[in-house]
């Protein structure tokens, strides 16, 4: 037994020495352990929110993530620590570059666009280099991840060649010389690193971004990620730059509190970004003009749905959100004038009423208040009525919601739980 252990130890030592030799032998064309470069790489990883998918909530960072449910099946983000067996320890920088820019991993493996390479394709070479250098500094974690858990035929990676042919073209970030440097930095952060469109841009039937409606809101994993354009009704057009910065930095602003997937984004990524970058993002987003939306008139107050919804609201919602729909700052979101509330797709609003949700807690806004679940108490018709009421009160206007819409969300949530 002891002898076997010794043999293993010896083998390990040899392996270890080899890698040391390899490191020593590699030509030092640039200082890959340069402090500034590593820090920049860490910042790129933060802004790109790699940790969100590539880690488990209580696991080691970057050692592989939780299952991601896509309309086509389950995918798991792999281990991207420099472990040779189970991570990217055998990769070259070129492997990483092709992964990010072309969606083709080491050995020609085609990635699924759950990995947001349609966004990362716009990353600059300098950022990719810095990210590569940073990833090399991580502790190698041995954790084998089966990334592709899709059912046939989607599990055939070669299919993605066809998908890419239809939906993807490697490109690079193109700045707009008409706009300020700040605006362009924001555009880069939104389009490339931040990959905001992955959640917020509507998808085609094949799951590709519908770029004509970029950032105008999309439904993903039973959450509707609302419009983050300057649309005044459904988007964030009424927010100032500072209010948007506050939201991204602290998770809460004068109107809203982040929860769901956005809470994770804020926790992992935007709360750790520089104020200058957040300002750049805000400058860019608030300059995004939505496509011409139809003007909507609110439902009449004497509509039966409004009367029922008003009664449910008074009983159940008003104590926190107020008779005027204004809520309480940093605690209970303002419903009046909210883009999420007035979004054409009410999925998130319905889900919040049914299932509740905890707001993100950050160092500067640590409260993390929660909307309590109320689905146990309200029927589908009650929820439909109250959501319709909220969407059409206090100058809000949005299409009414039916009990069937609620039933659908209830069913999705039951399956997810």
């Amino acid at each position: 037994m002891t002898r076997i252990r010794l043999a293993i130890a010896a083998a390990l030592l040899v392996t270890a020495s080899c890698s040391v030799i390899a490191a020593v032998m590699a030509p030092a064309l640039a200082d890959d352990q340069d402090f500034t470069l590593i820090e920049r790489g860490r910042y790129v990883a933060t802004a790109a929110d790699c940790v969100a998918c590539h880690s488990l909530p209580d696991g080691k960072p970057y050692a592989g993530g939780a299952a991601l449910q896509t309309p086509f099946g389950t995918l798991v983000a792999p281990n991207i620590t420099p472990d040779r067996e189970t991570g990217i320890g055998n990769w070259t920088k070129e492997d990483l570059r092709r992964t990010l820019r072309e969606g083709i991993g080491r050995g020609g493996k085609r990635l699924y666009p759950a990995m947001p390479y349609p966004a990362y394709t716009r990353m600059t070479d300098d950022d990719i280099h810095a990210l590569w250098v940073y990833l090399q500094t991580l502790e190698p974690v041995s954790n084998a991840v089966e990334a592709n858990q899709l059912p046939f035929p989607f599990n055939i990676r070669l299919l993605m060649a066809g998908w890419n042919l239809l939906n993807f073209e490697p490109s690079s970030f193109k700045s707009d010389p008409q706009k300020s440097e700040e605006w362009n930095r924001g555009a880069y952060l939104v389009q490339a690193l931040g990959h905001c469109g992955t959640c917020h841009t509507p998808k085609s039937a094949l799951g590709a971004d519908d770029n004509d409606r970029a950032l105008q809101g999309a439904n993903l994993q039973a959450w509707y990620a609302p419009s983050i354009t300057a649309d005044k009704r459904q988007g964030i057009g009424n927010w100032s730059v500072d209010q948007l910065i506050a939201y991204l930095k602290t998770g809460a602003n004068h109107q809203s509190l982040a929860s769901g997937p956005m809470a994770e984004e804020i926790q992992n990524s935007s709360s750790k970004m520089t104020d200058a970058d957040l300002k750049a993002i805000a400058t860019y987003l608030l300059d995004q003009k939505p496509s011409e939306g139809k003007t909507l008139a609110p439902l009449a107050a004497d509509d039966a749905r409004m009367r029922t919804g008003g009664a449910v609201y008074t009983d159940t919602c008003m104590a926190c959100h107020g008779g005027d729909g204004k809520g309480q700052t940093f605690l209970f979101p303002t419903l009046a004038g909210s883009g999420l509330v007035q979004a054409d797709d009410p999925a998130t609003l319905i889900r919040l009423v049914l299932d509740g949700s905890r707001a993100v807690a950050t160092d500067s806004r640590p409260t993390g208040p929660a909307m309590p679940p109320l689905g146990w108490r309200l029927t589908d018709a009650d929820v439909a009525a109250v959501v319709t009421y909220i969407r059409n009160s206090w100058s809000n206007a949005a299409p009414p919601v039916s009990a069937g819409d609620v039933a659908k969300v209830r069913k999705t949530l039951a399956q997810a739980n």
């Binding site: 104590a319 926190c320 700052t329 940093f330 509740g356 807690a361 806004r365 208040p369 309590p372």
Partner: protein, 590 residues
Amino acid sequence: MARKLPHKDVVIVGLGWTGSIIANELCDEGLDVVALERGPWRDTATDFNIGYAADELRYNSRQELMLRPAQTTVTARNNAGQTALPMRQFGSFHPGNGVGGAGVHWAGITWRFSPADFRLRSHFTERYGAQAIPDDMTIQDWGLTYEDMEPYYDRFEYLAGVSGKAGNLNGQLQDGGNPFEGPRKREFPNPPMAQTYGPTLFAETAAKMGYKPFPIPSSLLSRTYTNPLGVTMGQCTFCGFCTNYGCANYSKASAQTTVLPVLMRKSNFELRTLCEVLKVNLDSTGKKATGVTYVDTSGEELEQTADLVILCAFMLDNVRLMLLSGIGKPYDASTGTGVVGRNFCYQMANQVVGFFDPAKYNFNNFIGGGATGMAIDELNNDNFDHGPLGFLGGGSTRCAPIGAEPISKRPTPPGTPAWGSGWKKAMRDSYLSNLSVGCEASSYANRGNFLDLDPTYTDRLGRPLMRITFDFPENDVKMSAYVTKKVGEIVRAMGAQQAVEYPRTGPWSTVPYQSTHVVGGTAMGADPSTSVVNPFLQSWDVPNVFTVGANVFPQNSGFNPTGTVGALAFRAADAIRSHYLKSPGPLVHA
């Protein structure tokens, strides 16, 4: 044998108000802190869901947030000549259970004790002479002054977002506040609560009679507030479900709404729930604690070693753990020697219920809150001359409509039939038109009132139950009769057709709810022969044990205790951070 766990710097027993305040402070000091809580995790959205937070059957009748007697209870008797019997249902008082402790289901009234309270024996001696204090009244000084406490009251009030009006700012009396309070360095963090009709009428009437009414200091918030830790609380909605309930609206200050959001994020803090501490372990010298032994839900005994042990459980449990662990000399009532268990006190809860003409008065007490209302302090403590009266003490008088729950609040005037159409009519007439004015009064220590380990009854783990030996001393009964009569005068002047006076009278019964303000048992003080902990709440006998809670009160004032408990928690934490950690050992040499 208990399985030994990796060492921690600090183990805290109980994660309510005091445990969470101290844990947060010591984590800021960089210490590795673990809290052991015998009850479950509790959180606003899940446990105080707005859809059922006001379920009276669940929370009031069935006491869901309280300790289950099957887990542990107490035995009680009125005097040493009786055999104590176990309380199989909590009645007279309601020990909390779970994270947040009794601070989850409290009313939210948040006083400072008056300057005289902290040097009570000295004060009475100076004003009335030593002979004015009865021989069996074992009241004593706290070993500190109001001035020592002021900064810590301030910290607790700003943590909790207390809503009120200062009566004394740096010695300058302020209109509209309590003129009898000790000087504050600054105003309350939030303005007073709005007042409903009942308290408004009470205040107008009292003012006409020469009293100086002021709003009750409330930890139900008058507006949205972000405390110094960055935690945001909501504005109270006057839903009327505070006492015995958790707050669904983040409006009532509790560990959950003020500290835990910050504490739970700290990587050097760990909470273990459903873990009941059996005892504090001492080394062979008996002068140093090595940690605690506890049992989890699997029934396994675990030993948590730590450099510092802080008992922050409900006051009865703190006293019991001291006795079970052999920390300090147990009190012997027959000789008056020993200290642990001595000076157990309560609160004299007096009340006057006014029945008004239903055609003219609609108070609608359904709109209310545990700490809304107006108060006067003329009848409290030593704010009036006790010279000719033959008793000491008094109480804070307040008209505080705490809500009128549909099951239990059935006020009818005396003489009403107990059932049938006569009862229904009286109920209809008086539900909206009755009004209560309470006088929450002092409870002074008596040689015959104490806590010790029961010789007969044990808990599920085989440990003796805490035994309460208590009755209302003659002094307190006389005081109650006096102040209640005064309150009756006010209620009649308000226009009540009938004012029914309920002064607290003996014998003490464990059955009807009176107040959860049980205090004392490990009194603090400057003299180790009459106190268990020094003025920094450190055990005289085992200096790496502290205990924080109402168990350190030497006697009770005519005020609700939580403000003082919270201030003491901040003060103990400050003493540990500023002095103890630099040189572990006794902070006071007696």
